[in-house]
Subunit: 127 residues, 2 copies
Amino acid sequence: MTYLCKMYERKLPVELECGLHLFMEVINGKWKINLIWCIYKGIKRPGELHRQIPKASRRLLDTQLKQLVAQGIIVKTIFEQKPLKVEYELTAFGETLIPVIVVTAQWGETHRQILEPLLQSTTTTVK
Amino acid sequence: MTYLCKMYERKLPVELECGLHLFMEVINGKWKINLIWCIYKGIKRPGELHRQIPKASRRLLDTQLKQLVAQGIIVKTIFEQKPLKVEYELTAFGETLIPVIVVTAQWGETHRQILEPLLQSTTTTVK
DNA sequence: TCCGATACGGCTAAATTTAGCCCTACTTGA
DNA sequence: TCAAGTAGGGCTAAATTTAGCCGTATCGGA
């Protein structure tokens, strides 16, 4: 059972200097945090996750789930049942992310009133 | 003295639901953390910052500095001297980011040995 | 006067990430 | 037998971010 999986071949080097860059490499991706959080909260199956995060395209959720598996944050269990069933769970390593996410999320919530207006007008790329 | 500044017009909505998304909106950008950290450490002038982060192109550093100003994280002071001088400083709001950055950076450093190999091979976009 | 340093913007192309459509395969229930 | 739900990949195009080059202007020193 050969495993074929086309990956995007990076051309620019990944930044690994500072610890926050490491964190961001893991956490970056439009829905990864949501996925991690949902899985942490017990939403384990792909279908449930899709329904939980309806704004995300199914396609992207799937690829980001795959990335999280590759990064050792979650594990995927395939139950070889009659109606195929899949479940994701945080690894022990993935669990270590939770308190960090909590801290950053708290910062965001604390300053939401300041941030929301700024972020809606401002864009990431100022030219 | 009209201020003209071409901004990139976002077409997709910004995600603001969760606090971590708010945090990420601010922190995202290849060199923003480095900039924030350097400024926090007292490296205030554009030229110094460029020398401190030599891997970054001058162009991108400048635009990201501008973004941080627009986001209220830093302030830019222009000294109308004989040889023009500019300095950046963290705002009080920007200071609130520091402990959060410390936490995430610590997480990264703590797990560097696990992360480095994973992140170098794996790419963000699994296709 | 020419070189280097200060500080900055315009512009194009490359790299990367997301959106969104289509298709496969299997199972259950109507 | 058809519809719906399970899970997931291929593919293209759009959106977004970075890289990198060129040009402006001022000042100080050799």
